[in-house]
């Protein structure tokens, strides 16, 4: 008996030590790296006597590998003119991004510069953890600040101060499987749009025609990530004439007849028509088993890798109150850092016209000169310049940025939790909406 206990204790100890090591190396590789490099460069300075102090910046993104590789090339370009600045790219998954960044800022281990999405900005702006870059960008003639669409800067502005530069403003659009549409002899969304007939009725009709439960083919998928209800549902809600919050952003506004109709439609797609994958099912558009997928323009980086079927993009369908196209939004901000100057210099470099031309292969640029240029329209063979014109450029004027709130995290968790009662079919849409109204309102004070 003693032997076993001793053995177990030893095993337990080893396990604890291993677990400890793992989490240590897992959490702070970047930091250790920085310190190690700093040590190294200090000694270099001693012997060489470089003019500027070597600085290492950390740059956080939630992008995929292709986007990371693109930034690595931009960083190499940046180093040619700024040899004393190293930039390390750090990837944090989107679902954890805001919380991880908040914790890192509180513990002073945050990156120096990084991406922010519209829903994250109010919190960080409110807590004063973003650096004002207004002077740096506005007084630099070469940078050409006036080229950036002023409407895309509102969310980053507070008085005369400016806390970031947007780099991606992708409208929500429909990716459709051209091969499936051809197989069923359906008119494509692009054709219908040109005839001015691309409505939710046609959308639902196409979904039903394409769906084939027995072979696992679905007509439509609105959801990219089951934990991100707002991207999936806002266009549907808006196109039916409802809204998430009221005009002042002080109350939940979706508990109306229009809001009910929108959620009911979503519910029916999954459980009545069965043309939408079930909650939690992770089937993606690139498998070829989805007729239409509503996503952002940035998904083209994945779609371009598709080889076994043809696809294209089209605008969102027209509802009773317009298309309700939502505008995604991501920008770069400089966070509380010891190197605000170097970080601002890097921010300016990656948002200048040339760099934004490079990033426009994945991101809808916020600079007029880039958006309206061939660099963006002809960045890749697919989608065609015509489709980009129809589904992206022509939609920019009417598209809306999703609303934010400083308590977004709480509101997000609450709505996600309550939507589950629709997903489990245990409560009706009306019941869920009236619960949402009561509980979200108490979080908005």
């Amino acid at each position: 008996m003693k032997k076993i206990t001793t053995l177990l204790l030893i095993m337990l100890l080893i396990a604890t030590v291993l677990a400890g090591c793992a989490s240590n190396t897992g959490n702070h590789p970047a930091k250790d790296g920085t310190q190690g490099n700093k040590g190294g460069t200090h000694s270099d300075e001693g012997s060489g006597g470089a003019a500027k102090k070597q600085v290492k910046l950390q740059f956080s993104i939630w992008g995929n590998d292709a986007q990371k590789a693109m930034y690595e090339e931009l960083v190499a370009e940046f180093k040619k003119t700024n040899p004393h600045i190293d930039v390390e790219i750090m990837t944090i998954p989107f679902a954890d991004y805001q919380q991880k960044l908040s914790i890192m800022l509180a513990s002073k281990t945050a990156p120096d510069i990084g991406w922010l999405a519209e829903r994250m900005i109010p919190q960080f702006l409110e807590s004063g953890q973003l650096v004002d870059i207004a002077a740096s960008v506005k007084e630099d003639n070469e940078y050409d600040f006036a080229d950036i669409y002023p409407s895309t800067l509102d969310i980053f502005s507070k008085g005369d101060s400016l806390y970031g530069i947007p780099f991606s403003t992708p409208p929500m659009l429909v990716y459709y499987n051209k091969s499936l549409f051809a197989e069923k002899g359906l008119k494509t969304p692009t054709e219908l749009y040109k005839e001015d007939k691309w409505t939710y009725d046609e959308f639902l009709n196409a979904a039903q025609t394409i769906a084939d439960p027995n072979s696992g083919v679905y007509g439509v998928k609105l959801v990219g990530d089951w934990k991100n209800w707002s991207d999936a549902l806002l266009p549907l809600v808006w196109s039916h004439g409802a809204d998430l919050f009221d005009a002042d952003g002080t109350a939940f506004a979706m508990n109306t007849a229009e809001g009910q109709a929108a959620l009911q439609l979503y519910n029916d797609l999954m459980f009545k028509d069965k043309t939408h994958p079930k909650p939690g099912d992770e089937i993606t558009f690139d498998t070829g088993k989805i007729g239409m997928y509503t996503g952002r323009y940035s998904y083209v980086s994945k779609a371009r890798a598709i080889t076994d079927f043809e696809w294209d993009i089209a605008p969102m369908p027209e509802g009773t109150h317009g298309k309700g196209t939502s505008l995604g939004y991501a920008g770069y901000s400089v966070f509380e850092t010891e190197h605000p100057e170097e970080a601002s210099a890097f921010l300016k470099f990656i948002t200048n016209a040339t760099s934004m031309g490079v990033t426009s292969q994945y991101f809808v640029p916020s600079r007029k000169s880039v958006l309206e240029s061939d660099v963006f329209l002809k960045a890749a063979p697919q989608p065609s310049a015509e489709s980009i014109q129809l589904a992206v450029l022509d939609q920019m004027n009417d598209a809306r940025i999703a609303p934010g709130h400083k308590n977004w995290q709480q509101i997000d968790v609450k709505i996600q939790t309550l939507l589950d009662y629709i997903y489990t079919q245990s409560e009706s849409v009306e019941e869920v909406l009236s619960k949402m109204e009561a509980e979200v309102n108490s979080l908005m004070k």
């Binding site: 076993i4 409110e126 807590s127 934990k227 079930k278 909650p279 996600q416 939790t417 489990t424 245990s426």
Partner: protein, 291 residues
């Protein structure tokens, strides 16, 4: 030179004691202090006395639901795990050809990463595309939404957790069974005891110290469940699989309420402490042959 032997003793234990003090005791005491504040990343810290504890007990229905779910998880997992582990140990005790293969197969999940295990089972239990429901479809049945069902999801998580960890207790029981002297079984069979009687009157009393150890470890582990919940259900659907550690995680790292999260962590500490104390006190009644 240190003359006194006692100093050597202190010297030898110092790495452990210092490490414990710096990385465990310190944070624990800090957390205890934090549980009396309203510290959040979004505002300045201030002392609020017992408000966090009051909120948990009186004003937060989700907290009570969370406590209920945690106890439900433990009540489901512990008996299932222990009885299955004992049954498997009894089956695998015999020295048969190829028996090592089965022992290894049953132990492998224990050394597999919990994250990998949970992700795989999340796919297996997916509603339309999942392995189980696909198999049911071949038989002409429509399976339920295992992970999107208010009553079914917790049992699914329990079963997945049992499959993951049953091997560890099985190994403990196997070792204990091998320690039982053969002569007791001979005596029992001479007295004409049935196999059931032999099990309840010979085997179980003789391995009771191991059962006790396994019980305490499994119970404490089950009260601290987090990984499989975080990955498979995210506390959902609704709040039906919110367990205490998940709730602590959510309050602290998603909603930034560190003060409230610390208070719940201490409530969990007392629950574990009390349950362990309770078992310790009734141990004398059923644990025999302790060395």
């Amino acid at each position: 030179m240190l003359r006194n032997e006692k100093w050597y003793g202190y010297l030898f234990i110092s790495p452990m004691v210092l490490g414990f003090a710096a990385f465990l005791l310190g944070p624990i005491l800090t957390a205890f202090f934090m549980s009396f504040t309203d510290w959040s990343l979004l505002r300045d810290i201030s002392f609020v006395g017992f408000d966090n504890y009051k909120k948990a007990f009186a004003d937060d229905p989700v907290f009570w639901e969370t406590v209920g779910n945690t106890l439900y998880f433990s009540a489901g997992l512990v008996p299932l795990n222990l009885s299955l582990a004992l049954g498997l140990a009894l089956l695998l005790k015999k020295k048969l050809p190829g028996i090592d293969f089965f022992r290894t197969a049953l132990f492998t999940p224990v050394v597999t990463s919990l994250v990998v295990w949970s992700i795989v089972f999340k796919y297996i239990f997916a509603t339309d595309a999942g392995l189980i429901n696909q198999a049911l479809r071949i038989l002409g049945l429509e399976g339920p939404a295992w992970l999107y069902h208010l009553e079914l999801t917790m049992p699914v998580v329990i079963v997945v957790s049992v499959l993951k960890n049953v091997g560890l207790n099985m190994v403990i029981f196997l070792a204990a069974l091998h320690d039982v002297p053969k002569m007791y079984y001979e005596a029992a069979s001479l007295d004409g005891a049935s196999r059931w009687k032999t099990l309840t009157n010979v085997t179980l009393p003789l391995i009771s110290p191991s059962v006790f150890l396994a019980l305490i470890l499994t119970l404490i582990g089950s009260l601290k469940v987090f990984g499989q919940i975080y990955i498979m259900t995210g506390g959902g659907p609704g709040t039906s699989t919110y367990v205490l550690v998940y709730y602590i995680y959510q309050q602290a790292f998603k909603l930034y309420e560190f003060g409230y999260a610390s208070a719940i962590a201490f409530i969990l500490f007392f629950i574990v402490f009390l349950l362990t104390l309770l078992q310790w006190s009734v141990r004398k009644r059923w644990v025999h042959h302790e060395e």
